[in-house]
Symmetry: C2
Subunit: 183 residues, 2 copies
């Protein structure tokens, strides 16, 4: 199962692709950050984020996109930008027919460190270990995107099997008898 | 100047097109609501909103899109959906090179009723009068979208002249001498 994790943000939108399955080793296929300058108007920043996410989807062809679930108890200004960037990520995925899974920050922290209140450094250290990287991915948004993808692979095996079956169906046409029934 | 007003929302996204200029009579060119069902997952709702807004842009070719500025002091659940829908509206506009203007609800109310705390009924009544409609547009989200467009036409004459000039430049190619200078 190949998952694109997205840690949404207007200034830095973390993206990371992880392949693996629950109980098996994980592989990092890519990690990065889509950045947009704070001095640019929001509509144009959203266009740049859309373009960035589309490039990651084109290059890595994930079967599912895991996005951080946004809450509004955070800082007011930040949360609006986060909600807008997450909307663009969800839109890009859904437009391609990809399933989208949302996970809260504490679900992600608990999944990769065992502690829902773990700090950034601890999450970075565990991501580095689980993916057998030489050093923690920088900035933290990139590490968080990988943590989201790992969290999804471990937490949602049933949903993942469904997404994998759907992805396989998209790749190979169904046998004629099945197609007939579907009409 | 032709403005598409968007009152963003996941369940009901109000849209209204108004043509006019400050100090001249206003004309309504269209009004409606892009609806998405609450039982559908957010990513698919955002895709449906994108499709709806694209249709309005295709049909009415506005020179500018005015979107309600979202604040997060509202209800937590609602504000997330509103922020996400507004992100889609801004994205659709900016992707086409259209300028986007944001106005707060109280700016809109003050522009059309003279009172920044006017209620829905009062806004609806003034929209009906200003656009010489037979009855107030329903639902309130549709009337609010028209009010946003009117607010923009009245409040931002300088920005509008710029948008009009840009739209004219997009329609007609510049004379050869000018084009040469631009290279």
């Amino acid at each position: 199962m190949r998952v694109l994790g997205v840690d949404p943000g207007l200034t830095r939108c973390g993206v990371g692709v992880v392949e693996g399955a629950a109980g098996r080793p994980l592989t990092m296929l890519g990690v990065g950050v889509v950045r947009t300058p704070a001095e640019v108007d929001t509509p144009l920043r959203l266009v740049a984020i859309e373009r960035g996410i589309e490039e990651w989807l084109d290059e890595h062809r994930p079967e599912l996109v895991a996005v951080e679930r946004v809450f509004s108890q955070h800082n007011v200004r930040t949360v609006m930008g986060t909600a807008q960037a997450s909307a663009v990520a969800m839109l890009c995925a859904a437009r391609r027919g990809l399933p989208v899974a949302l996970h809260t920050p504490s679900e992600v922290k608990a999944a990769v460190t065992g502690n829902g209140r773990a700090d950034k450094a601890q999450v970075g250290a565990m991501v580095t270990r689980l993916l057998r990287l030489a050093a923690p991915p920088k900035p933290a948004d990139a590490a968080d995107a990988l943590a989201l993808a790992i969290c999804h692979i471990w937490r949602a095996p049933a949903q993942n099997r469904l997404a994998e079956a759907q992805a396989a169906a998209r790749r190979a046409p169904a046998p004629a008898s099945v197609r007939k029934v579907r009409r």
